[in-house]
Amino acid sequence: MSPVAPKIVAFCCEQSGVLALDMAKSSNAKLPDNLELVPVPCSGRIETLYLLRALESGADGVVVFACYEENCRYLQGNIRLKSRVGYAKQLLAKIGLEPERLEIFPLATNSGVKCAEFLMRKSDQLGALGPNLGKTAKE
């Protein structure tokens, strides 16, 4: 295992992701230690550039916690996000980074445990993949 745990940047939609993670923390579910949470009003707020810049500036993996398809409070947010993540994944392929480094995990406010487990699995997965060679910021 690499000495430092893989850095995960998790963009969390305030309607679902943030609350799910609060629930995870309060029920002290196990969370990866090198995790950074970025709250956003809606997953639709996350620009494609954020996804790449997060990886560029040090993240080994980026996760987006968005609401389920029909449940977006702003109706279109998670749908727009899906197409942006699709575009970002094409860019990752061209850069030569593994597609697993960027993923959307749809959830609702009550899936705290589910998202904690997902993060732990993601942390192991990224550990296996090794560090993100594309990051320019020095650790």
Partner: protein, 438 residues
């Protein structure tokens, strides 16, 4: 690093002045209820009804399922108080043709059937246009097969005992439900109500349904009373077979009490009348209205269908509310509950904020200098909060551009009061010209 989701700049979006004026589209029971209660609070209300009389879809309702009052009398009283109220103007034969501007400065253009045109500037709009049902296609051509609304009329108008229809006595009636709309409770409620009345007139009634939906207040009691009165209940998986036996229609159902499918025996219910639930269809006029008002229509083509994140009566646009059957076909009492919810919302909006509205949520703002007028944000805003001022002579609100006070805003402009703060426009703007300010 990357710009955080918000940027902190002490911007207090200028408050929007709200006059206590509301426009209600649809003169049915929901529209009238909202109008009456808002008027009592001193709000100037205009009700636009496409027909020549008020009352709308519930007009053919005769009996309440939960109280013995006479619906027609209750309806007439409501209409008369409405038409007498100084705060309410009723525009009959009116149709909303166009709605421009944003909350606080809506410009509603109403075309009246007599050719007249009225322009109103309401501060809040309520859509209560009700739903429509498609007439029952006579199933296999039986004339003894009628819809629930026709049975309601028969029960109200026919005084003799036992009930007669076209001269023939109705001694045995069978209600056949869930053939068409299966996720809607209203048919079960109406069927139970009518079955009790029929039983009271000495007519043996049976209700055949895929499953009985009783999750409406008071329905459990009604169901048990019906059982006590002797109404028979049957469930079915595959729809029952109807055969015309000359003097009656035999409704063949399976006795679902035996578990194993092959052991179930079929029973035949000879009935003088078979009553079927009409299909609730999307109303093309409501769809057209939603297009004119840029309201989001749900998958069934109805206004603002269910989304757990949204309150039941709010729409995707600030200052526009939706209530009643046009949102989702439902029982009258539920529609009235939505009507009262709308009254709360409108009063909180128009009267609660001291005559103004300032957005509590973060608001996005366009940097006019960087905007390339590519219309991306205007097209993508789910809340129709963005317009382009220079061309939009209809969006006449010309906010002075920050830098150059007198020239009108030469770019896309986000109406602070209408913005919900989701940030979709910020992420999609190709010039990164939009910022979300907390």
């Amino acid at each position: 690093m990357y710009q955080t989701a918000y940027s902190s700049k002490p911007v207090t979006p200028s408050p929007v002045v709200l006059k206590p004026e509301a426009l209600i589209i649809g003169g049915g029971i929901v529209g009238m209820t909202v109008a009456g209660e808002l008027a009592r609070e001193g709000v100037q209300v205009v009700v636009v009804e496409k027909g020549e009389t008020l009352g709308g879809g519930a007009g053919d309702l005769r009996f309440f399922y939960d109280r013995p009052a006479d619906v027609r009398k209750w309806m007439e009283e409501m209409i008369s108080t409405l038409e007498g109220d100084a705060n309410i103007t009723v525009l009959k034969g009116g149709k909303l043709e166009r709605l421009d501007g944003q909350m606080g400065r809506f410009q509603a253009l109403i075309r009246i059937s007599d050719g007249g045109v009225r322009t109103l500037s309401p501060c809040a709009v309520v859509v209560a246009t009700g739903g429509i049902t498609r007439p029952v296609e006579a199933i296999r051509g039986q004339s003894r097969c009628i819809g629930l609304s026709e049975m309601e009329k028969l029960l109200a108008e026919c005084r003799d005992l036992p009930l007669t229809r076209n001269g023939r006595p109705v001694m045995r009636a069978t209600f056949l439900l869930d053939l068409t709309n299966d996720d809607i409770k209203i048919d079960t409620v109406t069927a139970l109500k009518q079955a009790l009345l029929l039983q009271g007139k000495g007519c043996r009634t049976a209700i055949v349904a895929r499953d009985l939906k009783v999750s409406v207040s008071g329905m459990e009691l009604l169901y048990s009373r019906a059982r006590e009165e002797g109404v028979l209940f049957f469930k079915y998986d595959d729809p029952p077979v109807l055969t015309d036996t000359g003097d009656a229609i035999a409704v063949e159902v399976q006795d679902m009490t035996t578990l194993r499918k092959e052991e179930r025996e079929t029973l035949s219910l000879p009935s003088d009348l078979v009553v079927v639930g009409e299909t609730f269809a999307a109303d093309p006029e409501t769809e057209e209205l939603c297009r004119a008002m840029k309201l989001r229509t749900g998958p069934g083509g109805r206004a603002m269908e269910d989304n757990p994140q949204l309150q039941r009566v709010t729409s995707n646009r600030r200052g526009i509310f939706v209530a009643g059957a046009c949102r989702f076909p439902q029982v009258v009492t539920e529609s009235l509950r939505e009507a009262r919810a709308v009254v709360q919302e409108v009063m909180a909006l128009l009267l609660g904020g001291g005559g103004t509205y300032t957005a509590e949520n973060p608001v996005a703002e366009v940097d006019a200098g960087k905007c390339a007028l590519c219309y991306t944000c205007v097209r993508l805003c789910p809340h129709i909060a963005i317009g382009v001022e220079r061309y939009g002579e209809r969006n006449v609100y010309a906010a002075p551009a920050e830098k150059d006070q007198n020239s009108p805003w030469q770019a896309a402009r986000i109406e602070p009061a209408a913005c919900f703060g989701c940030g979709i426009c910020v992420a999609e703007c190709p010039a990164r010209a939009i910022t979300l300010y907390r």
